[in-house]
């Protein structure tokens, strides 16, 4: 049997999975802590991709073109987008905590529409991508883009870092406590509004990291946020709202299943993801790693 095509799909599926994880981890955290389902998450991801591109281009013009310029560009975009996330929470999102689900969804959906047009106004209709000029390497009977290993490594590193942050640091423990009981955390004298703003900033920062890392493989184009957000929802629901481990496992399931479905049913690969989502929602609505309590 020729394993070449399968190895190729496996690596592209895993790198896709890691990007989905970076994106969905923030979505899941925001939902877990604030009970807000952020429709605009993938749009912020897209916006950040354009920002990263612009910083990268600027740096390349100033200091000469080099693939390494992507690194400071990503750092800059993550910092900038975290600030944007912080501001969004302080000025808009926090007004909806006492509202019901549809209004919260509507507010973040309004952001999808507004930010989408802002991108169009600033960057125009042209797609943006970065070509790092990485040569494919030969392995397992096929040619693999080694940059995919950078993405996979980043994803695993961030997953480990998030685990450490949530379980071993004081702030992380407060965040986890807030997932279970906001009123209790607040009663212990911790300023919950600050926690909210910082969690939102962290989530948006992770989305920014995801788009920066993915930029050399995926061109940023208007409208891709609408496809990505529903896949990210699928990941969060399959894994279980608020569960990081669940989000990680579900990202791998969704990324790899998508990648292999493309071999057999190119146009319908996304239908497979929704089939899994439907099965999970019928069988375990709270997700693979979620707890029933929160439903």
């Amino acid at each position: 049997m020729d394993i070449g095509p399968y190895a190729l799909q496996l690596f592209s599926g895993l790198s896709r999975a890691m990007v989905l994880f970076l994106l969905s981890a923030g979505l899941s955290l925001i939902f877990g802590v604030m009970n807000i389902l952020n429709f605009a998450h993938a749009t912020l991801f897209l916006l950040s991709g354009y920002v990263t591109f612009s910083i990268f281009t600027f740096l390349s013009q100033q200091f000469g073109a080099s693939p390494w310029m992507l690194l400071p560009a990503i750092v800059g975009a993550v910092a900038l987008m975290s600030l944007v996330g912080f501001a969004l929470e302080r000025f808009l999102i926090r007004h909806t905590y006492e509202r019901e689900l549809p209004e919260q969804l509507l507010l973040t959906f309004a952001l999808v529409l507004i930010l989408g047009d802002v991108i169009k106004l600033v960057w125009g209709l042209e797609n943006r991508r970065i070509n790092l000029g990485v040569q494919p390497i030969e392995m397992l009977d096929t040619l693999v883009n080694p940059y995919q290993f950078v993405i996979i490594g980043t994803g695993v590193a961030v997953a480990a870092g998030l685990w450490y942050f949530l379980h071993r640091t004081r702030f992380g423990k407060i965040v986890r406590a807030a997932v279970y009981s906001r009123s209790m955390v607040s009663a212990l004298g911790i300023r919950i509004p600050m926690i909210y703003a910082m969690v939102f900033a962290l989530g948006v920062g992770l989305a920014a990291l995801a788009s920066g890392v993915f930029l050399p493989l995926l061109p940023m184009a208007l409208g891709i946020d609408l496809d990505i957000i529903v896949q990210s929802f699928a990941v969060v629901v399959i894994g279980g709202f608020g569960s990081m481990l669940g989000t990680f496992v579900a990202s791998i399931i969704v990324g790899v299943v998508y990648s292999f479905s493309i071999l057999f049913w190119p146009d319908g690969a996304l239908a497979m993801i929704f089939l899994i989502l439907i099965a999970v929602l019928i069988w375990r609505p709270w997700g693979l790693f979620g707890t029933e309590m929160r439903s």
Binding site: L37, L92, H95, T96, R99, E100, L101, P102, E103, L105, L106, L107, F109, A110, L111, V112, L113, I114, G116, D117, V118, K120, L121, L226, V230, F233, A234, V237, F241, W265, P266, D267, G268, L270, A271, F274, L275, L277, I278, L281, I282, P285, S295
Partner: protein, 352 residues
């Protein structure tokens, strides 16, 4: 925003309850709708037709949201299934030259609602077991799956090309005639919908919307009621979809996507989910705004996004919600004779 309690005074409350002032408002709206084709040019007649079809779609969505308390992000699946069922039969019945007779045309329209209802029966069977965000996610998942099936099953649905050439019979090609035809169907559909929401079945739905456990204690079969309502909502969405094909002369997979579902959600929340006619009011505002804004700019999403943002922040309950709060505040002010204005709304609610 939930759909407020049914027991408070004011003409809007009575309109919700379906007595008294409901008829004058309905008649006023009907008269305004009847006059639309008198406007010069075909453009506004076509906008009017769009208002009616999408308004019916939004009304069907509000059966789930306003009356059952569940938000669906996949309601366009039934709009799209209805549209495709009609479009396929239409294509099968028309002559090779592209013409279709009036009976065949009407028959193709009739097939939309039952096929959509069938799809809703299957999908609803699973969805009514969940509530809240899980209901929203499962409807979204089914909707997106149907979207990708229609999108990729080229031999059956023509994939992303869609189905073109749905030219109705000569009589209906005239904008004004098609408009009045649509108006008649939509008016009839709204009348049936209104009867349903005011029936004991409708009351049971509102009870389980407010408290499922209490409804179950009172002997209501909660899941059965929700499923029946899901199928009814699907059938009306299918009717709207059936009208959409001959109106726009084509159908495409986008009609099933979650963007289309979003339109129903927008219209309902702009108009106000708490009032029976809220979604239609929302459709008038949304569609007219779109028709005007698109004349001047391509930045329609930015415009509607800002409008929604303002509504969520400053006008929860939609346009009808604002009017209602104003009137309630005024009444409370009169009755309390200059009492604490902050206590106004609750004071009004306390009235028998």
């Amino acid at each position: 925003m939930s759909a407020p309690s049914p027991h408070h005074p004011g003409w809007l409350a009575r309109l919700r309850a379906g007595d008294g002032l409901g008829w004058p408002v309905a008649i006023l709206m009907s008269v305004l709708f009847l006059l639309v084709p008198l406007l010069p040019g075909e453009y506004w007649t076509q906008v009017g037709t769009e208002i009616l079809i999408l308004g019916l779609f939004a009304m069907s969505f509000n059966l789930l949201y306003g009356y059952m308390g569940q938000i669906s992000f996949g309601h366009a699946a039934f709009f799209g299934v209805g549209a495709y069922a009609t479009a396929m039969l239409f294509t099968a019945l028309k002559t090779p030259a592209g013409a279709i007779g009036v009976p065949e045309f009407l028959l193709s329209l009739l097939v939309g609602p039952p096929v959509a209802a069938l799809a809703a029966l299957f999908i609803g069977f699973f969805c009514v077991r969940l509530t809240g965000i899980y209901f929203a996610m499962l409807t979204l998942a089914f909707g997106e799956m149907l979207f990708y099936i229609v999108f990729s099953w080229y031999s059956f649905t023509k994939g992303d090309d869609g189905i073109q050439g749905l030219l109705p019979p000569d009589f209906f090609q005239d904008s004004a005639n098609f408009y009045y035809f649509t108006l008649a169907i939509v008016a009839l559909a709204l009348f049936v919908m209104w009867r349903i929401t005011e029936s004991p079945f409708g009351s049971a739905l509102r009870t389980l919307r407010d408290n499922q456990r209490r409804a179950a204690f009172l002997g209501t079969n909660v899941k059965m009621h929700m499923l029946a309502n899901f199928v009814i909502a699907g059938a009306f969405a299918g009717l709207a979809g059936a009208l959409w094909g001959p109106f726009s002369r084509s159908v495409n997979p986008g009609l099933l996507g979650w963007g289309e579902s979003g339109i129903a959600v927008f219209m309902t929340l702009i108009g106000g989910a708490g009032a029976f006619i809220g979604p239609i009011v929302g459709s008038v505002i949304y569609t007219m705004l779109q028709a005007v804004v698109k004349m001047y700019t391509v930045y329609w999403p930015l415009t509607i996004g800002s409008v929604i943002l303002l509504i969520v922040l400053f006008a929860p309950g939609g346009i009808l919600g604002i009017i209602e709060r104003r009137m309630r505040a005024a009444r409370a002010g009169n009755q309390a004779n200059g009492g604490d204005p902050a206590a106004g709304p609750s004071a009004a609610e306390a009235q028998p």
